[in-house]
Symmetry: D2
Subunit: 241 residues, 4 copies
Amino acid sequence: MINVLIWNEFIHEKQQPEVAEIYPKGIHRQIGKYLSADKNISVRYASLDMENCGITKELLEDTDVLIWWGHQAHDKVSDDIVKLCADRINGGMGFIPLHSSHHSKLFKALCGTSCNLKWRHGDRERIWCVNPFHPIAKGIPEQFELPREEMYGEPFDIPNPEEVVFMGWFSGGEVFRSGVTFRRGGGKIFYFQPGHEEYPVYHNENVLKIIANAVKWAAPEARESKNILCTNPEPLEKGLE
Amino acid sequence: MINVLIWNEFIHEKQQPEVAEIYPKGIHRQIGKYLSADKNISVRYASLDMENCGITKELLEDTDVLIWWGHQAHDKVSDDIVKLCADRINGGMGFIPLHSSHHSKLFKALCGTSCNLKWRHGDRERIWCVNPFHPIAKGIPEQFELPREEMYGEPFDIPNPEEVVFMGWFSGGEVFRSGVTFRRGGGKIFYFQPGHEEYPVYHNENVLKIIANAVKWAAPEARESKNILCTNPEPLEKGLE
Amino acid sequence: MINVLIWNEFIHEKQQPEVAEIYPKGIHRQIGKYLSADKNISVRYASLDMENCGITKELLEDTDVLIWWGHQAHDKVSDDIVKLCADRINGGMGFIPLHSSHHSKLFKALCGTSCNLKWRHGDRERIWCVNPFHPIAKGIPEQFELPREEMYGEPFDIPNPEEVVFMGWFSGGEVFRSGVTFRRGGGKIFYFQPGHEEYPVYHNENVLKIIANAVKWAAPEARESKNILCTNPEPLEKGLE
Amino acid sequence: MINVLIWNEFIHEKQQPEVAEIYPKGIHRQIGKYLSADKNISVRYASLDMENCGITKELLEDTDVLIWWGHQAHDKVSDDIVKLCADRINGGMGFIPLHSSHHSKLFKALCGTSCNLKWRHGDRERIWCVNPFHPIAKGIPEQFELPREEMYGEPFDIPNPEEVVFMGWFSGGEVFRSGVTFRRGGGKIFYFQPGHEEYPVYHNENVLKIIANAVKWAAPEARESKNILCTNPEPLEKGLE
């Protein structure tokens, strides 16, 4: 069983009727509904309006993969919560930041860069799979279209990713590395660009399937954080030789 | 002084009047004319119609960077010539395969993959710089347009490149990793996609400047091949300890 | 079921009594015996003394992972066989070259480099796991010792690997990237250094477990070669836009 | 002219007579003396005992490469100073963290990992160059010995480095990726392991030459931070198409 925790800022859906119409229960519930159809995936939810963002050390230790959607309130997530999550990712938990979470404190802390990019509302995107053998691309066509999506454009200020799985073409003339992987400690990370809140992007079958594939790819073999990488308080007494 | 050898298949220019009009002396001479304006660059030429493709071991040993343009006669380049070049690249010579040279024997031998891609004539390309700090991007704008260019589209079957410097957007809906770097032994490699023979791509100032930047980037510190990596005929007699 | 094909040069075992004593049925049979204990792995064998090295296109198409051990007769493997295997690896088959197979035609063709290294008989090695979260390291201790092993030392002239999983320490004073991964097309590649024929290295439980882990890691999701990357005979007729 | 700023914690040298004997004016002055012999390098110094660690935004903006040595007082460097430095590195400044600076706030912030490792005093190290073509290895022998050095051992919890230039062999049986490169934004980073304060490591000619090479390698083409990657406060008004 893969334990997934979907964290959503959950503000747009409560403040903007047009967003609420697309995601009446929130973006997290929409994604979670799809994932839950897989009997090997168990989904829990957390959001900004909960105490401490709904995140505790115990919860994270029982989580295999953390999905994150944030946008307008990145700063409302405390540094302590960010550190809890970053440490747990280094210990082995998978991490899937979506769309505007490129500017979340957590993703930036793991990247060490600004994660800046170009952006513009109201575009159309075609997503190309550039690595058709990657597990995250399983069952995904060579390319598919998002009739309405916010443009995210290069240069995207991230560290050189380990793999580029998807690239985006925008009708306005831009390109983007839309699906990229990183590893930090034991944690596998997949940043995935689609998902502006005003368009029904998380109703797209391919987008949902990619997220589900990424969950399986990012889930660690064992749930326990490996302490070997997390603490080294004492020096070694003597050498092996 | 950087010694550059520009190799050109040099067939289209002699067989197709419309290509001859764009490149009356050949693609190699057009690129070489631009490079020669830099007094630190010395250019020599070779082509398929010369004996042994105009390539000798001695010439390569006196070359810092090899630029390559081939298209319809890749198979006419002998395996011996390919091996001579590949060995010299491993020994430290820079290598800049252009456009349809993605399917040259030499580039494929260095990649170990098919280097296949999608293609279609008569498109329009916008080239984005995704790594504005890279030396190859020096003085290049954020993006520039090629009003007529052959479409090369993903998936591009190359090994995961060390760096992606440029990405291409095509009006027909495709994307491409248009400028990518690799290293083989001591040889720095920059594959650059623009350059269909029927369009005046190598008259574009940005395209030429990128090639010139790549020459400086790929040139080795010293011209000699390092034998440490080229031969190890005998085992070590005894250990250091 | 993972179909594994173990190819062995199988000369030392027939010519040198001291090697035959360690591997009476050959290195391939020793490794295969261990792998076969896993009921999800099915093993077949091939060797240099068989017609066409015991390798056919049909056999490769029914193979998920190819393990390779060669040493003194690399040149006896024909270029045609090398091309068959390299194409199939690009199409998705996993590949695990062992020890002196660093100089096999096949591994060199996939690398595009000389794959040269330093070497010396009669050393002792300590293998460190530098990426304890990697699937190939599952169940492997932080370090283990090979009381007798041939020294392989840096610089190792390979392309920058995607991952370094193991590093070797030698009593004579050398170091080596002993377990490294690459990808070519859909094929996952794991080069693993241990295995000099004169020492009982493939009787070591950790060495065997690492090879078994690598088989599971390198096995493709589906056995069919993906033609999308293997052929592009015709241009696209028209764009998507 | 390359402007180098060498930051040193500068505590051991004032508190421990045996360290003061090796570095009477501090580790920073010892390294700076060597670098200053190159007339193209200009050196400035800063240390923990200065106001705000001796670091200001203006000083960083006039710096090409920052060298850092810290050990027992990482936490005394304020988060504000760390952010100033990290932002400037992303803007293009080179960064060379030395030895125990693996645990500096600044290096950890750029890595996004724990940067943990094994350690033990009083060992002997042999440093191997695994990438003899790299500019940082220019003029460095294949291997050299540090008769006394603190052991730093794998696993080293860093993101997969872009390049491994040096690897360390320790007499006690450990191995280490001793010289590794990263890039964050425009900033080139070289972590270099040697330099325990109790041993005269920074009197070793090869160690000093490697640091000097790294300074030249890490220095940006232009000193100005590129704002394109540092701010994107406004969306784009309209697309290019």
